[in-house]
């Protein structure tokens, strides 16, 4: 909702700071999601429709384990355990079995996972709306009265750390190179002695961990609940805008989606901002379906 009497396209100084802070944090949330979707797409040509659900359930796990143990460190341990167990389970029990099946099988399994996780939110957490509050010191005051909590700062730092770690991993480690090889051609990689099962389950673990981190950040900024699983679709849009097979694109796409969403809420209509990711999706699909940084050849064209 914009204040009365202010021309829509001009921000006051305080608003400008708040605008920048919000867009950056939203970008972090979406970039983590989009990175997970991109990693999974590159690794196994699977588009994960359960990513938003994974993120929110991860956030809930963080919230609950923090509540039980009363310490944010324990909550982080809970989130890490959740990521490893869930990622490895999804790969070993489901995705590994459907290699070579028609493409829709893997996608529809992720849709099934999405429903099961949504049900878990209802059954385990009663779909309660919770905001993660790790109890660290209050916010830093920025110029003009806008605030930036340590949670927000942590989210920015963690996201940057995640992407730097990912870059170092893919570029300099042996496993990272095997990872890229598998993404390029799994059969060939396995014939050269790469443990494809290890690589692909690692892909799932990384993707789930990124989603969990994103869910935690989102839960700290906004709230967790049945309705917040839609961030998965914003993440999917971000991944698609950047190009489904480009990690760099994931960040840029996330920024574009976050910016567009913030501006819509501020300047146009909050209701429209719900539908906005899909409008962007429609535009991208009709104009540049391989995204900003994606490869054209990758596109499954008719």
């Amino acid at each position: 909702m914009r204040a009365e009497g202010i021309p829509p396209l001009f921000f006051r100084k305080s608003e400008l700071v708040e605008f920048v802070a919000t867009v950056i944090i939203l970008t972090c949330t979406y970039a983590l999601l989009a990175a997970g979707i991109v990693i999974l797409y590159k690794a196994g040509r699977v588009v994960n429709f359960a990513h938003g659900e994974i993120a929110i359930v991860g956030g809930y796990v963080f919230y609950s384990s923090g509540l039980i143990a009363g310490s944010p460190w324990f909550a982080a341990v809970g989130a890490v355990v959740f990521s490893i167990v869930t990622g490895a389970f999804i790969y070993a029990a489901m995705m590994r079995r459907v290699v070579g099946e028609p493409f829709y099988v893997a996608i529809l399994i992720t849709v099934g996972i999405a429903i099961v996780l949504k049900a878990a939110i209802i059954v385990i957490w009663r779909a309660e709306q919770v905001t993660i509050d790790v109890g660290v010191a209050p916010a830093i005051r920025l110029a003009g009265g806008a605030t930036l909590s340590y949670m927000d700062l942590a989210s920015i730092v963690l996201t940057i750390a995640f992407f730097v770690a990912l870059y170092l991993f893919f570029t300099f480690t042996r496993l990272g190179v095997q990872f890229r090889g598998t993404a390029e051609n799994a059969l060939l990689a396995s014939q050269r002695g790469v443990n494809v099962n290890l690589v692909l389950s690692l892909a799932w673990i990384i993707a789930v961990a990124a989603a969990t981190l994103s869910g935690v950040l989102y839960g700290g900024r906004a709230f967790l609940g049945s309705a917040s699983v839609t961030i998965g679709l914003a993440g999917l849009t971000a991944a698609l805008v950047g190009g489904l097979d480009s990690l760099r694109g994931a960040v840029v796409g996330a920024f574009i989606v976050a910016l567009a969403q913030y501006l819509t809420v501020r300047l146009l209509d909050p209701v429209l901002s719900e539908a906005l990711p899909f409008l962007i999706l429609l535009v991208v699909m009709s104009v540049r379906p391989w995204g900003l940084f994606g490869t054209v050849e990758e596109l499954d064209r008719v």
């Binding site: 493409f103 429903i115 209802i122 059954v123 679709l233 539908a275 999706l281 499954d300 064209r301």
Partner: protein
Amino acid sequence: MARAGTNLRTSYLESNEVLRRPYQKLLIALILAAALMLPFGSSDYFMHLINLCFLACIGALGLMILTGFCGQISLGHAAFLAIGAFTTVILTVHVKMPFLVVVPAAAVSGAIVGFLVGLPSLRFRGVYLAISTLAMHYAIVFLCTTYQANFGASASAGITIADPVIGSLRLRGEHAWYYFLLALVTLFTVGCVNLVRTRPGRAWMAIRDRDIAAEALGINLTRYKLAAFMLSAMLASVSGSLAAYYSNVVTVEGYTLDLAVIYVAMIIVGGMGSVLGGLLGAIFITLLPYAIDSLFEFLPRAWRFGSTVFGMQVGAVGVCIILFLLFEPKGLAEIWRRTETYFDRWPFRYRPLDTTRR
């Protein structure tokens, strides 16, 4: 030859036969007779469940044509249902059209929307097509939400629709609806069976199995893909329109992505590429929440939180999708086929020596 006859075919025409086995005609006659007798002595609640199954069957047949036969994955089926429902709203509330005009009009508007949603399928397949139907779903639901929001003060609870009137007959009550829907489902089923075993169906299956090869065979991809989308959307739209009349209320909150996924679950559970599977899956998935609800009746009261039951009902659909895809990818139809084969070969358990096939 009676027993070998189920697998032995000596002409191409025979492979087109629908009812090959001698007992199948009898079975279908029995099922139809039982269906006609069913309402006698059945409660309204039971008939209501069956009617819901019938409505789902019509929609699931549509999605089966599109995904099961033509291989075009769609997450936009709820939007097609919404198109039918909102066409009904617009035509009955603003123009006061009679039932027999509204339903065909819903079919036509469904076909038009199906054409539009199908256009991306000319450029993409696979994952990208699924995402584009997803985007279409949100666009259509957004339009419907906007319509409902501007409809009036009472619209937040849904828009009411009067009972349909055919001539001097007022279609009201579960039993009357049952016969009406039974006739329609039979009609659509026969139509679909005939469609998929003749030229369009064979073209769709060729496209599903390998579109490049299909094109090389001279199949017009554009025409047949769009035809599949239009037919699918048309059936869904008719189902949505009838559901609107049946429940007397339309609200956009009912047409979520979850509903589209439920329809996908129907064709997976039923079995891709089988008309029978579409019907079985629709019935299975429609009755599943009610079955879970009645299962919870047996549990101690303390376990029966409203949200637990609801969550289980939601989750069961997802579990069904995953389990069927992993362990029975051809669904209930395959289980039915195996049963038939078992009885064909009884008392032998092994596959008979049959050099003419496979």
